[in-house]
């Protein structure tokens, strides 16, 4: 199925945001926005949901805490209980104070790295991946909105153009994709 993509370029984040509001109110679906920095407030306009990576971080942290507890209990209490100054390691709870620092460090280690790896995988940003921004200037000072014809089938291309004209863009580019 062939499709057409319209790239609308702006030179200001506020203008893009106002433009996006206008387009969305006319029922146009904006597929993507490319920007050099996070535009605050754009997500609800174009329908980007808040990420749930925070929950993932919590779960990774919990995993780290569990692993640290199981590990230290095994090493210090089950496998080789050491008798230090007449204070043997007979139970984990009695010795828990000594285990807090590493439990904390390992929790942070797992939460941070787990979240960072998940973030890179979800974004598909990994070493050697090709850049996908439509114009190299979008990592400098330009902001691009991507609209797909197939996602706005209720409108003709001419209708779309007419609405886009009112947004205060600086450049427009169209591409046919397969």
């Amino acid at each position: 199925m062939s499709d057409k993509v319209i790239y609308v370029m702006f030179d200001d984040d506020e203008v893009l945001k106002d433009g996006a509001k206008k387009l969305v109110s006319k029922g146009i679906k904006i597929n993507e926005v490319f920007s050099p920095f996070p535009i605050h407030g754009i997500d609800p306009i174009i329908g980007v949901k808040q990420t749930r990576l925070g929950i993932m971080a919590f779960l990774y942290g919990l995993t780290g805490l569990t692993l640290a507890t199981i590990g230290m209990r095994y090493f210090m209490v089950v496998d080789w209980p050491m008798n230090i100054g007449g204070k043997p390691n007979f139970s984990y709870l009695q010795n828990i104070l000594a285990f807090i620092p590493i439990s904390f460090e390992f929790t942070v280690l797992c939460a941070a790295h787990g979240m960072a790896i998940t973030y890179l995988l979800l974004n598909k940003t990994l070493p050697g991946m090709p850049a996908q921004n439509p114009d190299p200037r979008t990592t400098d000072d330009k902001f691009v909105m991507e609209i797909r014809l197939s996602e706005n089938s209720s409108m003709t291309e001419a209708d779309l153009d007419a609405v886009i004209k009112e947004t205060g863009f600086i450049e427009i580019d169209k591409k046919d994709i397969k």
Binding site: F37, H40, I42, A98, F99, G128, Q132, P136
Partner: protein, 462 residues
């Protein structure tokens, strides 16, 4: 768009546009390096290689080449370790704690401060490793199944806590730093003209494209990492202080150590940031982004943490007398009046008196004065660790075992060498990496930039 009070000094001076920010940060990377860079890099490299040579000699001969003796088993090695870890505290404090407190001035300095952190922790990590004498068995500090029966590392030991704390701190700081670097590498990639540079920055930028969803995740990941890194900063130096505090040596066995060490770490870290940034802003013409206000803010942090350190010194002294413990009291009297009195008073002058000068607005806004004090503070903080470690050890319980510590040339070579290596890393960073979080700076341009603050309609909206 967020606006702030007009009476606040703008954080970005001049009439900068988004494109100017990109230009200002990327130009030094794209242009040829100035002659001064090569000179500095050459000097740092020679010093660094001398350090590597000293380490090789140490590894080939044994730890006996250090000036340690039966009484003083720990001296420059652990002093340097704690000094470097302390310096490494400012970067994550700036990028994590200041992010949580929404301090926008952090954006101009967080990238290079964090680079400094990472390189400083590299240098710190070197000392425990070479102290083993056998670098190649460093992995024995990990709880790995081994051929010695079920012999595990001792999880009750603060030294092992340190292994976990330092490696977690290093790797989490590295990840935090790199996640922030990815979008900025993408900016350099999209501007690069030479094929090799394009390829390199293309790999480094992981194919970042600046999609709205990615930015949404980016902001949350930064926030959560900051939330995780904040207690981490405090825990790392607390754990370093446990190395001493949980021992039974008079002068070390003090409950005040964790907060006192953390404050001292932030104090010395900010001083090092000042030393580096005051030169860097000039050399790379970043005066519009890192200006007097930023320096003043950092000096205030130095003043506050310096005062905490000063209070801790006095408290420690008082408690040693008030405790009524003869040995404890002697340890402190000996520090101030014994054979190491000069180290003690150097520490007191550099760390207690010098930060108090920052109460004067004129002084804390003077760049020359700041640069001078930043060096003084770093010298003072090295002496602090030296005083704590060596003077507590050198008067053993039996007078027959009393001793002095004299550093050998290998002690000095390794220490000076790490300073050289640190600058090698930092100069490479300044040459090839975006030294300012350029895309983050763009987010505050409209709220805190000078031209926007001065424009007539700044106060009309919202």
């Amino acid at each position: 768009m967020q606006k702030e009070a007009a009476i606040r000094e703008p954080l970005i001076l001049g009439h900068k546009t988004y494109h100017d920010v990109t230009e200002d940060v990327c130009r030094p990377i794209e242009d040829k390096a100035p002659k001064m860079w090569y000179i500095l890099f050459g000097i740092a490299l020679i010093i660094g290689l001398y350090g590597v040579g000293s380490i090789m000699y140490l590894l080939g001969t044994g730890v006996g080449v250090w000036g340690l003796n039966k009484t003083i088993g720990w001296a420059w090695d652990i002093t340097n370790f704690v000094w470097w870890v302390g310096i490494g505290h400012a970067g994550t404090l700036i990028s994590a704690v200041l992010l949580l407190f929404r301090q926008k001035w952090r954006m101009a300095i967080n990238r290079s401060a964090e680079a400094m952190t990472i390189f400083a922790v590299f240098m710190a990590g070197l000392f425990p490793l070479i102290h083993m004498g056998r670098l190649w068995v460093g992995y024995w500090t990990l709880p790995l199944p081994n051929q010695f029966g079920s012999l595990w590392v001792n999880f009750n030991s603060p030294l092992l806590w340190d292994v976990f704390a330092i490696s977690t701190y290093l790797s989490v700081s590295l990840v935090f730093w790199y996640i922030g670097l990815i979008p900025d590498f993408a900016t350099i990639r999209d501007r690069a003209k030479k094929p090799v540079a394009k390829k390199m920055y293309s790999i480094l930028s992981f194919g970042w494209s600046g999609r709205a969803k990615h930015w949404n995740r980016f902001e949350l990941v930064s926030l959560v990492l900051a939330g995780l890194a904040t207690p981490l900063v405090f825990s790392v130096h607390s754990i370093v202080s446990f190395d001493f505090a949980t021992s039974v040596i008079p002068g070390w066995h003090t409950t005040i150590f964790p907060p006192y060490f953390v404050a001292g770490a932030v104090f010395s870290g900010f001083a090092m940031v000042q030393t580096l940034l005051l030169i860097m802003r000039k050399a790379m013409s970043l005066e519009a982004y890192i200006h007097t206000k930023h320096v003043e803010y950092m000096n205030i942090v130095i003043m506050v943490t310096g005062s905490i350190v000063g209070t801790a010194y006095i408290t420690e002294l008082f408690i040693s007398w008030y405790s009524g413990v003869e040995y404890e009291a002697y340890a402190f009297i000996n520090r101030a009046t014994g054979p190491y009195w000069w180290a003690y008073w150097a520490m007191m002058t550099c760390n207690v008196i010098s930060p108090q000068l920052m109460w004067f607005r004129k002084l804390r806004r003077s760049l020359m004065f700041t640069f001078f004090i930043s060096i003084v503070v770093n010298i003072g903080m090295w002496f602090e660790r030296y005083v704590i470690i060596v003077t507590s050890l050198h008067r053993d319980y039996i007078p027959a075992a009393w001793s002095m510590h004299y550093p050998s040339h290998i002690d000095i070579g390794v220490y000076v060498g790490t300073i050289g290596l640190f600058f090698v890393f930092f100069l490479l960073f300044a040459r090839y990496f975006p030294v300012l979080a350029l895309n983050e700076v763009k987010t505050i341009l409209k709220g805190s930039g000078q031209s926007y603050k001065e424009s007539p309609d700044y106060h009309k909206h919202h």
